[in-house]
Subunit: 158 residues, 2 copies
Amino acid sequence: MLKLDARDLKILSILQTEGRISKSELAKRVNLSNTPCWERLQRLEAAGIVRGYGARIALEALAEHVTIFVTAELENHRSGDFSRFEDAVSGEPEIVACWALGGGLDYLFQVVTRSVGTYQLLIDRLLTGDTGLKRYFTYIVTKEVKNGGVPLEIFKSL
Amino acid sequence: MLKLDARDLKILSILQTEGRISKSELAKRVNLSNTPCWERLQRLEAAGIVRGYGARIALEALAEHVTIFVTAELENHRSGDFSRFEDAVSGEPEIVACWALGGGLDYLFQVVTRSVGTYQLLIDRLLTGDTGLKRYFTYIVTKEVKNGGVPLEIFKSL
DNA sequence: GATGAAACTGCTCCAAG
DNA sequence: CTTGGAGCAGTTTCATC
């Protein structure tokens, strides 16, 4: 694990919100000259800490859609059961995120789709496909309250 | 709502994964010359469809941390109760995302923090602060299975 | 929509302190 | 780490078709 100083963290937190900032502007913002700042960024990218860049897209300005969270419980807990379900999840673009959970529930996943109807089609695919899904619970999102980035501030003291 | 053709969607989906692509390279990828592609992007940004750009940061390569999902139920459902809770959520950087839900539960939120201990401190802050939080349930994430972007493919036929 | 070009800014690398 | 700069690539805005 690469050790990072406060400047590296500042570079990361600037890039997190301003991914298309120019490298010379970035250097100014962290009080470094061009060259060493560029070298730091190279290191961060090479180490895989910066995994890439992306546009933040306002889906709500683009098309009608619904966001739904689903908790899932599997039929069985043998080693193959988990990877079978996870493969099914990977193959569904409407499942935008999925996490394995400790405790009674096995998975939580987030669906973004056109409507409740297309969500039901997705669930039907999961139930009739050989995914091992036993029980699920649907939570429809009525409002996105917050969606920020990872709080790098918390790790400042490393 | 701005109407977008297939090229606009392609621009968006390229930018979603390659946020730092050069504008001339982007133009090539969508089979347009420099100028009209640049104009489309200007429109998309001006319309707020592209809300910004950000680096994808691999937190796991950076520091030990835990991800936890929490479902929350509020004491009361008067108009002020929701905004009071949402304000508290906004003020906590460790709460990286929060959604209001239909049905019995009021909110789902995602916490990224250093440890289970710091998570408990967060919960204590929410409980002792005047947030109206009545009942909550903790789901510790043991594995991130998938974390992709919004599936623009789904909206191709618009 | 396409093309070409002008003026500018930024990028990458290198040298020297 | 700094400054300075060379050579090249990318950006933005033109005018023209």
